[in-house]
Symmetry: D2
């Protein structure tokens, strides 16, 4: 059964935009050394949509090679059509992955009946177990009644990872699915509510923050398993500022990539260009994240801790506080020597 | 400090559409006898928008009279403009309510800056404490940065009731607001996640289900307070089917009103007309709710327990399963004597 | 049959927040003198939701008195429940209004079946004709299949005013409704597409801009009626900048109210408070609107024409261009003597 | 300058799911014979997202080969990242396409600043002209201020195709962009409002219906160009039923593909599986479309004209009318011999 904390793998890029393979290998070793429960490449955090099919297959191959069977690998396989999903599935099975993870179809809106039929057909033909990946922000929702019917009929579908941020839905999923198939895995993909999800019965999570501070997220999980609710809760709340800062990046997952660079990895630039103003914002945000990391005891980030003007102005929320900018500019101007 | 379980008051109507005052009084007594922590009239569950201003004031007066100071009353006061809100506030203060509850402005979309200024002006002039009521489904959102600034600057604003169903936001609210003002009340209005909200530090909730099965909701709350997490969790999950069924009504809060009628109250018909098909659905739903109530030990509902065709076809989710309807119709037709 | 250009009436307020009745009367005279085709009080532009029931009835009474039967009055009657709608309908019929206009129910989301039943019940009991008012931004949508069924069955329902901004829907409405009931009125409430709506067969519009520059909007309409498409098109495009500026106000309909004040009416302040920053924005916007009005030949606005810093920074779109603000502030600071 | 009616190319599939190349070639000849103004492969109608990169390049190559320079080809090139877009652009330039068409990035939500930077970088490096493709239903919006700035700064960006269905936005686009660059192409992608778009100044459209009834759409366009407004309007309204029926398919663009099959093309099955109920719906819809085509004078479709139960029940809107299904089933059952 799939359970515990899976780390969605960030992708380091080289200056020429290619995947930085040696750095990716180094990150895998580091994560496994730090004790993460599993690896989850080619998800949203892994920017699967900005890679091509060959690159996505290459990522899984690299990770499988470096892992050498130590932790389970959940491989994102949301390709453009069923034939390519099945091609990916065959390869990932061969490479020893524990399951593939599949979003609903994306780009076009399709009916829930078509979503259901899509998963039924894949489940009939897949050589490897499937984890449904519900992320209605980016892809067609996989509604709970559809999940129920798939779980009843398709042994290949072994669980769901829910990144909808909809906690009432997660609780309803646990209520309904565990009654049908107690071994059906329910993972949360919402970092901010990992602990309450576990408390209500979730089997674990795919938690991008565990790619940045695996020490802290794994401690939260161990405290939960040990029944130390108060300590687990303290850690969950402590993580919120870091999570908020990482999500405040101009585009996802740049905040997470900035944080990884502060842990010593060469992450490179995103394939999605950002404006010069957004670059400045991101630089400011990086300084802010460094402060949080340093406060958490990660000394390697301390040197980068700085709160520049623009980051301060957004109050860490990504919303621009114009009054504050103008006040700040005016204050600087008013200062002698400015 | 405002805390515990507040019951959003349902409104019984007479056959002529007027408020059924004697039945309302009887419900108040019953709820207080059953131990609810407080009363919350003129919220969404109380259909404030379908009453007129005189009726809303009358509701508070009746409830205050019947309560005789036994439990705190949180009075909804979301009137159409600030002058009328302040008129309501003055009356509700005089009647001994503990605070008023205020949604953001509704109908027009307004900026968060205007939402903030709206609450600032009311807070400056109100003779009674104010609980912010965040329900972005129906009224302008009160964003978390706005809540933070209001909490810092406005002593009259003493808390927030969050009905957004957004649990990451509730957790962030607890994280930020308790750091600024530890006594600032944070209540959830999302029934399905009462327990995890309490576990993460919420002070209580406005829980419409407590108007139907106050015995069960108050037991959940007592078990939580006593540290019996497993038992509290068992009750929370047990409540989910009932909550789902009550929300499946054709219009809100008809499912809750149907459930209240099964506990013995004369609720009458909604002021919002529904179609004859929806009336049939509601009748079927009432039979389904009766079964759940009977299973929970409320014998008075047992006689009404029935699962009619239409209710079954929605699978309790409010979504119509056409295949099933057609199959059912065909099956009936195929039966000899049909 | 209801047709032509109806002016949604803006409400002038006195310093104490009361309706400024003498100014309202003066506006009515002015509009009728300028040749508007009809009056439309208590719509969204008339801020019906921020008035109370007594005030809404008072507005209709004043307008009926001043109109003295010269132009048709379409009276907004979207009260909180059916009994009050019918009370309003009886009064507005007695005052000689040509029809009432009704949005779908607001605040709660209700099913299309309930929306349909709501209008059926009102249509059965109303003493006056009804125009459906589709504005899904603020109230429950009235879907096209519902409009079709109501038009077939309810003689009291004589038309629809569509403010959804959804032109394919307006075209489909014309296609379907004119086939069922050729005399069924279809008005657009979307100012920017008045001309193409007329060209495709709409009977007219409720056009808030006609409350500010009735001369221009009525000329557009006359040119259209005379078959002068090129001239009508020139005017429609000319109006776009003014419309865009009026919608750019911090809250609706402050931009329209600012424009009316530039035509010489004492409009007072909104009942919805706005922040001091928004007040500054609105003041800048007023200067910008004054320039547009002056360019259109309305000399009375010329003196107020000014493009202040904040208005410039939004580029007239209501979106804040922070770079530009900072550059502007810096430029001012850099100037000697600043 | 890009203008006129471009046909978004549907993709015929073979039984094994591969692109049916001979049938695609046959369709291209037929379309050009019928006089369409241009071809538009690899758009949404061409299901680019369900093909892989090699297939998308193959589609353009086939179309360029068959076209032999007769009509302009606008080639969809919305690949997963900028390097692959540029690879496609180089090939499509070499193949003689007039421009590439590009949606905003899809899957992730990105800021408008990032959308702008994305197009700036592509425009700097592209060897071929670019048409922006605004389709906020499926990909990140390209907001009008962004379009304005790109048009000012990037000569490679020569126009926009707007499929947002937002006509006020299209009118604003014409107003602002034609003032900056009169030769900037503005095409509509919204079939139902082709004529009013042309009347307001649009340069043409990408009209999927022209892939099904090119005779009718081209006649509408010719009547418009000849100044025969009344006849153009009659055709536009006549097309509405067909368009509505084609959009009523269970998933896009199955309704359009069914209609093409009725014109004699072997279209095969979608790569996106649909449920058996949806297959039955589609079959019913095909019969309904056949009736409309036959009424339009396309005799080849007459034999397939039939209105089965399920299609009738949706009233052609894709919404299920359960009452009607049950009534129909009951009526059948009541008939002797059923």
């Amino acid at each position: 059964m799939i359970q515990g904390i899976f780390t969605p793998n960030l992708i380091p890029f080289r200056a020429d935009g290619a995947i930085h393979e040696t750095e990716l290998r180094r990150m895998i070793h580091w994560l496994i050394d730090k004790g993460v429960g599993g690896l989850y490449p080619n998800g949203s955090t892994g920017e699967f949509i900005r890679l091509n099919f060959e690159e996505r297959k290459r990522v899984i191959r690299i990770i499988a090679e470096e892992n050498r069977g130590r932790v389970p690998i959940l491989a994102g396989a949301a390709e453009a059509n069923i034939n390519e999903i099945l091609e990916a599935a065959a390869l990932y099975a061969e490479l020893g992955c524990v399951a593939i993870s599949l979003t609903g179809p994306y780009y076009f809106k399709v009916s829930q009946e078509s979503v259901e039929e899509y998963f039924r057909e894949i489940a009939r033909r897949s050589p490897i177990d499937i984890l449904l990946y519900n992320i209605p922000q980016f892809a067609n929702e996989i509604s709970l009644p559809v999940v129920e019917r798939l779980a009843r009929d398709c042994p290949r579908i072994v669980g769901i990872k829910d990144s909808s941020r909809d906690f009432p839905r997660l609780v309803a999923t646990l209520h309904k699915l565990k009654a049908i198939r107690p071994e059906f895995t329910v993972l949360t993909g919402t970092e901010e509510i990992l602990l309450p999800s576990l408390l209500m019965g979730a089997d674990g999570g795919t938690i991008a923050t565990s790619g940045v501070v695996p020490e802290v997220v794994m401690k939260l999980y161990r405290e939960f398993k040990a029944g130390n609710l108060a300590e687990a809760k303290r850690i969950q709340f402590k993580l919120l500022d870091l999570i908020e800062a990482m999500f405040a990046g101009p585009i996802f997952p740049e905040g997470f990539r900035a944080a990884a660079s502060l842990r010593g990895f060469e992450m490179g630039h995103s394939r999605q260009p950002i404006s010069s103003k957004e670059k400045a914002d991101l630089s400011g945000l990086r300084g802010h994240i460094a402060c949080i990391l340093a406060e958490c005891g990660f000394g390697e980030a301390a040197g980068a801790c700085i709160r520049p003007l623009a980051a301060a102005a957004t109050g860490g929320h990504g919303r621009v506080d114009v009054d504050r900018i103008v006040r700040d500019v005016m204050a600087r101007v008013a200062r002698p020597g400015a």
